[in-house]
């Protein structure tokens, strides 16, 4: 019977569990540390998420001990799951045409003033956030980010 097979593999679930907890702690830590470059945080945090996901799937979901069907099943979904956002990126993410969203256009100047006024200027880098090229979007509002 199928599941009798797994029981033969003794996984130290506690160890997996501990690893997951440590990973979670790490991601919170990275957030609190808030690196100079926001990209680093993003990459690190997502890498941790992938690592966590892998350990859950491998051990908790027993995929490590399953037959080759797991590849047949998961490969297409993985490809599609990664492919869909990539395919949408050139259109929805990177805008080829000018957009006239009031947030970006008309209201832009207004917002800039506002942010300067509201936050006593400079304290936040948010006003730049709003108008800089998309690549700079993720600059951290360092000073008091996520104080909760």
């Amino acid at each position: 019977m199928a599941h009798d097979d797994h029981s033969a593999h003794h996984v130290n679930y506690l160890a997996v569990f501990a690893a997951l907890c440590i990973f979670t702690g790490l991601s919170v830590l990275f957030d609190v540390l808030s690196f100079e470059n926001r990209m680093i945080t993003i990459v690190l945090v997502l890498a941790i998420a992938v690592a966590k996901a892998m350990s859950v799937m491998m051990f908790f979901m027993h995929l490590k001990f399953e037959g080759n069907w797991k590849f047949v099943l998961l490969a297409p979904t993985t490809i599609l799951a990664i492919g869909l956002p990539i395919a949408l990126l050139p259109d929805i993410g990177v805008k080829y045409y000018t957009t006239l969203a009031p947030q970006d256009g008309v209201w832009g100047a207004e917002m800039e003033e506002l942010d300067a006024a509201h936050h006593g200027g400079g304290e936040h880098s948010k006003s730049e956030d709003a108008h800089a090229a998309p690549a700079d979007d993720h600059k951290a509002p360092e000073a008091d980010a996520h104080k909760a």
């Binding site: 957030d31 929805i92 947030q103 509002p141 996520h146 104080k147």
Partner: protein
């Protein structure tokens, strides 16, 4: 012929495949929409997102995932009581997760971080304050009308409210406390009308201070043709609101008015946040249902339920997996 796993498990895995695509659509849309938006609210002041609560919830789900595995292990070893115990733990943690989630949602509701309700520009912020203040005014006024202390103005026209209340506060109707309140409310109503008129006419609060009704119109008419007053500035309204909240005579009435700081792309953020966490929460509920069903069997939960526990466990791990991705995507990045 087939592969050496039970139909139910195969079916469940295939179902998980569809679930992956379901969340892919959400997460993928989130990613591209976010990259496509110039700016995103990341400041916890704006978003009312709490990394620690999120982290805690991640932890809670991981613990529950662990218990599910052990429960299945126990089932396989035919220790059904042990399995039941672990399932109850899991269920408890699921409840805890939902409670924390609820607390978070509550924080957002309390600050009106709701899709479609977040001002994204100073102009929207200003009119939002106006609208909220109007609501307060109507509510306050209803107190008097309900008690039949003043007459209801025609077609709910609020312009005569002041006069009515003023008369009431100086009359001898009602209780003394009510009359006192009425006096405070007269001031409050005046302030709202003042703001409202400035918004409608788009002129500065500073230049024509405290001018309501006829006085205001007179002030405006006095301007030479071609002259215009400086438009209403966001900071003026901000000070105005702060002033209202500071004044103890009616602070209690207006304390519910939300901080109106405009949040760029706040609505899209809120849409995505609620959609993704909401659908995740629905999945949590379904998972809980699966466990409850098994637990309801009581001592009848024996060998035949091993598959059930395994499959609902797999489902539960998937719910955990989704959260593992939602946590960094929504809370950290």
């Amino acid at each position: 012929m087939g592969i050496p796993i039970p139909n139910s498990k195969l079916g469940l895995w295939l179902f998980l495949g569809t679930e992956i695509m379901f969340f892919t659509a959400f997460i993928g849309s989130y990613i591209v929409l976010r990259i496509g938006s110039r700016g995103w609210p990341t400041d916890p002041h704006d978003t009312h997102i709490n990394v620690f609560l999120g982290g805690l919830n991640t932890f809670v789900l991981i613990v529950s995932s662990y218990f599910v595995v052990v429960a299945h292990e126990a089932m396989a070893q035919k220790q059904f009581d042990k399995a039941r115990k672990y399932l109850i733990y899991t269920l408890g943690l699921a409840c805890l997760f939902l409670c924390i989630k609820g607390a978070e949602y509550n924080g957002k509701f309390a600050n009106d971080i709701l899709p479609g309700r977040i001002p994204e520009t100073p102009g929207q912020a200003i009119s939002k304050v106006d609208r909220q203040l109007e609501e307060v005014v109507r509510e306050r006024f209803a107190v008097y009308t309900d008690a039949k202390l003043v007459e209801v103005p025609e077609a709910n026209d609020l312009s005569t409210v002041n006069a009515q209340l003023d008369i009431f506060s100086k009359s001898d109707k009602g209780e003394p406390a009510q009359r006192e309140n009425a006096a405070a409310d007269v001031v409050l109503f005046g302030k709202w009308q003042n703001l409202h008129q400035h918004i409608v006419a788009n002129v500065s609060l500073v230049e024509v201070p405290e001018a309501t009704g006829p006085q205001y119109l007179a002030a405006r008419a006095a301007l030479a043709e071609g002259d215009s007053l400086p438009p209403l500035a966001y900071s003026e309204v901000e000070t105005f609101l702060a002033g209202l909240k500071a004044d103890k005579t009616y602070a209690a009435s207006v304390s519910g008015i939300f901080d109106m700081h405009p949040v760029l792309y706040g609505n899209l953020f809120a849409s995505i946040y609620f959609l993704m966490t909401g659908f995740h929460a629905i999945h949590v509920l379904v998972g809980m249902g699966l466990f409850i069903w098994a637990l309801m069997q009581g001592s009848k939960m024996d060998d035949r339920w091993t598959n059930w526990v395994e499959n609902s466990g797999l489902y539960w791990h998937f719910v955990d997996l989704v959260w593992i991705f939602l946590f960094p995507l929504l809370y950290i990045i």
